[in-house]
Amino acid sequence: MLRASHTAIIGDGPAALATLAVLRHRGVTDEITVYGDSPHPLARLERYARSVRQDTMRSEGDGHLSPAGFPDLALVDTLRRRSPLPALASLFNLYTPPLDLLLEHAAQVAERYSFARCHVHARVGRVARPAGDPRWFELFDEQGAPLGRARNVVLALGHPGLRWPAAAGSWRFHPRVSHAYQRPTFAAGERIAVVGGGMGAAHVWLAALAAGASVVALHRSSLKRQQLNAPRRMFSAVGLDEYRRLDPEARLSRLRAGSGSYALRPGWEWRLWQARRDGRFITRQATVERIEEAGRHERHGRPLRLHLAGGDTLAVDRVVFATGFRTDVREHPLVRRLVEEERVPCVGGVLQVNDDFTVPPLSRPGSVLAAVGVLARWALPVADTFFGMKYAARRIPIDC
């Protein structure tokens, strides 16, 4: 007997949890099924955060997974620690929730909305409407075996994987080359090249400096400090209304223009300033074109040599690519099939969902295919944040 659901959520990360919580909060009492690998929605996020030694979130107190905006995490933290400091810090936008608190909070949300009970360990490989019946979607696994059917389907798939620049090539398997989210290690006296200028890169800089290494930060565009991972106005109707008035070309260029940034935190700036003063932290605006092992006569020096655009070379002990995640959603096999077989519009690797987060050709009144999280960036540039996940889930036209 195939599982029949009111809504099927495909994905097992924070977007899936946020969608489940919001739909329940909206009043969906019928069966919701979450298809994915893990019943722990923040497991991957935790692994990545621990890899870069991140102990606080970038978001502020209200960036959490509860469907309601109150109480925020600053207040929860205030009550838990019996200290007014989190609430005071929140007053001045200086509060960033500890990772452990967020994980605990996510676990509570997951328990409250029975995430584990809704979870089905399966990877959906194909979604299609049965011939002649516009009220349902059928879901199949990657081998084509039917998994179930649902009136509504929400794609809550995360990023397709880690992004490696072309220069990394097969070097990504070298023991001295790693991605920031693969828990790189550092030793005192080493010289580390960190490629990237975003939040992951900033955490790696600080972790390497704390270990006694020196850092060369290589960034493609100018380093940008920004409290949140997008301008504040993009987290409100003020910016979003403007964005939604853009024509498709302008939208795409706006999405592509968003470069990495790291949070402006006084403690970080102080540590980076000290390291810079001591000659242990250097920033260079350059791209890596090629990596090679140092020659035999250089073996007593640094074992890797980076060839930078413009002809410069850089000798280092390790290379860390803090280049974030891949963004071409067609790298998800399920999405690629939707694009190729169902003609779901996709431009530049971005799924062209409607502003109500439905996927155009497959949605019907009363039975929609929708996207949240990374897949919904066309409708909402900050869709891959906790704010964006809840924003999208609140607006999907699903009957309660």
Partner: protein, 407 residues
């Protein structure tokens, strides 16, 4: 939080529910209408600052700034309470602070607790309560700049159209503070008639009955409701621009119009708003402001209707101006202050003042009963003097070259 322009106003209105309930309860318990005045001032200052200052100057508003703005608004409220000769107003200083702080705290809790908890989309929508459900799918309101221009236009239209109505009886001299506006005596008398026990079946009479039951000044309640309704009309006009809410705008506009003695003028104002704002309601072409401002672009019968309506409103507007015999009298501060002083210190049944000059002021005072303030048991008739004599005599009231002396 990043407020949209409309979101700021809607949030202010919502956050005033708590203070209204609290100050209303306080006014009932103390049988003192001063707290209603205080609420009126609090609401009007807040809305005026939102519409006139914050909405234009502030982008992102952090929580600490909200606290700072609360302090600023209290300072302005206190200043307004002292500067305006409000009828029956007794709250000032520490009493005002004692009433304001809980009221403001309720407004703050509405914004930071009640709304985020009860309406999670509120913050995401920039403080607006946008339609949900099926209506949300089609909802695409006007852009932020369009909203601001529309609001400025609405407010400007309100001011321009209401002004001649206000000054029409300017020669009478006495003005009554009504929150947004200063009313002339004839209009105040008309409102008093509407709100008294013999007002018949009208909204004004209902308000009067409510006020009498609560032990408040009927005029005070009326003055509170009118500007609130006027702002509601403005906001509804905005909402109508988003489409699908024309009925609400019309309903709220009718309420405001029914509350006014000069209903025809406000009705004309409402029609002008509708005509001017019409183009916003269905314009899909972004960036063409001139086209939106023009009613010429409206299609078919609505365009044909818009011009006569606008012309009629302008004729009415001109006619209202024509009723003002001497607009300069509206600026005679001395007369107004004399009248306000008399109102404040003249209990019912006192001996009427009689004097000879100047005729205009006497007419304004209209046989108003007057006694000396420090001797309530003893009726004292007062005499009006003008000119240099005032400086040398012990006057009960003195302003520029006008003074009142004991006879």
């Amino acid at each position: 939080m990043y407020f949209t322009f409309a979101g700021r106003l809607q949030t202010r209105l919502l956050s005033l529910i708590g203070p209204a309930a609290y100050l209303g309860a306080l006014a009932l318990a103390a049988r003192d209408g001063s707290y209603m005045w205080m609420f009126a001032l609090m609401a009007l200052l807040g809305l005026a600052l939102d519409a006139g200052v914050y909405g234009w100057l502030l982008g992102y508003q952090p929580r600490w700034l909200t606290l700072l703005l609360g302090g600023l608004e209290f300072a302005l409220l206190l200043g307004a309470l002292q500067a305006l000769a409000l009828p029956g107003q007794t709250v000032d200083g520490w009493r005002a602070l004692g009433a304001y702080v809980p009221a403001w705290a309720l407004a703050w809790l509405t914004m930071h607790v009640a709304l985020p908890w009860a309406a999670p989309r509120w913050a995401e929508d920039g403080g607006e309560l946008r339609p949900t459900g099926a209506g949300a799918l089609a909802w695409r309101g006007p852009g932020e700049q369009e909203r601001r221009r529309a609001f400025a236009l609405s407010l400007g239209t309100l001011c321009v159209l209401a002004l001649p109505w206000l000054v029409a009886e300017g020669l009478r001299g006495e003005r009554v503070f009504t929150g947004l506006l200063l009313l002339e005596p004839l209009h105040a008398a008309a409102i008093a008639r509407v709100t008294d026990a013999g007002g018949g079946l009208s909204l004004g009479a209902a308000l009067g009955a409510l006020a009498r039951a609560a032990g408040w000044d009927p005029l005070g309640l009326y003055y509170l409701v009118w500007p609130t309704a006027a702002f509601a009309l403005l906001l509804a006009a905005q909402a109508a621009m988003g489409g699908g809410r024309g009925l609400l705008a019309a309903a709220l506009g009718a309420v405001a119009a029914l509350l006014l003695p000069a209903t025809w003028l406000l009705a004309a104002a409402a029609l002008v708003w509708g005509a001017l704002l019409y183009r916003w309601s269905d314009s899909e072409r972004a960036g063409r402001t001139a086209e939106r401002l023009s009613v010429l672009g409206a299609p078919a019968w609505r365009a044909r209707l818009a011009w006569p309506v606008l012309a009629l409103a302008l004729v009415l507007w001109g006619a209202a101006w024509a009723r003002v015999p001497d607009p300069a009298c509206y600026l005679d501060e001395g007369r107004w202050r004399a009248a306000a002083w008399l109102r404040r210190f003249a209990p019912e049944g006192a001996v009427a003042v009689r004097a000879e000059e100047p005729a205009a002021l006497l007419e304004a005072l209209g046989g108003h009963p007057v006694v000396a303030a420090d001797e309530p048991g003893k009726a004292v008739a007062l005499r009006l003097e003008t000119g240099q004599g005032c400086a040398t005599l012990a006057a009960r009231f003195w302003y520029d070259d006008v003074c009142l002396l004991e006879q």
